[in-house]
Symmetry: C2
Subunit: 226 residues, 2 copies
């Protein structure tokens, strides 16, 4: 492999890593904005989504250029195509953080999340950040062991999501239907965000081992509890 | 272009068309299952999702084989990469129809959709089917004019989605929080389904014209009202 080719592949990987860190930061800030009803913080998430979109476009152009110029085959070909897929996962994760920030903005100055669900949503935000931080790590290191851990971490998100729904369905739910709608959507956004982080890890596993992490391609990941 | 190469590209296009028709049928059947609380019909949607997933995997393998064997550049390269993206949109659309069918199954023998929202959800199902039928058409014909129509059609979905939320937020909402959660999720699933159909059309426009349908890449499409 020529040096420029290696450099091009390295630049793609580093772009993906950067996108994952932006998504991680966005979901963290969106969670704080949601829980604190902090409009200003919500606006930073909303305006910074452009950056993630721009990175994705750059990465796409770069990947297409590599395909056209270097005509990769075998592993290198799969690396570039996988990078395209991962960038789509990360761009979409950013959109989900954006959706959370928009929820916060729509209810401002009210809180979108009732206080008794504060701890659950905080934890969902933390799990989402942790998953995306690990996904960034997996992109950089290609460590299959770390990648496989993400599925276990995602179980925590599923548990939290179920706990959220139990509270909603509970007869003691005292809040408006509006609040129920907000919490339903927020739960869905966190769950999908986590799914995309897991999908990133699965794609890396497939790239490295040639085998699907759970016998299924990443795209067959269960779409969630819904 | 050699005959086999042309045939390979044609097979990819025809696979995409088939996927779009399956997604269109799935969302139609899921809507009926949801509105009639028809468990058997819901199960057919749930079990037939495998077919869509299998088609996506076949299409991916085929696209990678074309990239490796034919080393396409310029338009052909973009065609193959666009096909990979479109197949991801269509696979995800199938998942969303699956989610709708699972909603129906979870509430069976009850109806997940309160009767006064029946007409709105029916219309959302119809718009979703129409959008996907047009997307299939755009895949086959590459007609930019038809592709550009999808954005207008999607406005109808946004209007319906807003109408659904207005009913939920209405003080006269007489139903359980559980029903509100179901309707919130169903609305979200239809809206995302429509987004993916529009995304397919935008990708074809970009492929044909080299320009983004609305000055933005498909991946920057607004993630919706939520």
């Amino acid at each position: 492999m020529r040096a420029t080719y290696r450099e091009e592949l390295a630049a793609i990987t580093s772009g993906l890593e950067q996108m994952a860190h932006l998504a991680e930061s966005a979901v963290g800030r969106a969670t704080t904005a949601l829980l604190d009803a902090d409009l200003q913080l919500a606006e930073t998430v909303i305006s910074s989504d452009d950056r993630l979109d721009q990175l994705q476009r750059d990465l796409e152009e770069r990947a297409l250029a590599v395909l056209a110029r270097q005509q990769p085959v075998a592993t290198e070909l799969r690396t570039v195509v996988t990078a395209l897929r991962i960038s789509a996962d990360l761009e979409r994760s950013g959109d989900l953080a954006l959706n959370l920030a928009k929820l916060a903005r729509r209810r401002y100055p009210d809180h979108a999340v009732p206080s008794e669900l504060h701890a659950t949503v905080l934890e969902m935000g933390h799990v989402a950040q942790r998953l995306m931080a690990k996904a960034a790590d997996v992109i950089a290191t290609r460590e299959v062991k770390t990648a496989l851990e993400l599925e276990g971490d995602d179980d925590a998100m599923d548990d939290l999501h179920r706990a959220l729904f139990r509270r909603l369905m509970d007869d003691r739910w005292q809040h408006s239907v509006e609040a129920a709608v907000d919490v339903t959507l927020a739960g869905r956004f966190y769950e999908r965000f986590a799914d995309h982080a897991v999908s990133v890890a699965k794609r890396v596993v497939y790239l490295v081992t040639g085998e699907h992490a759970d016998g299924l391609p990443p795209d067959l990941a269960d779409p969630g509890t819904t």
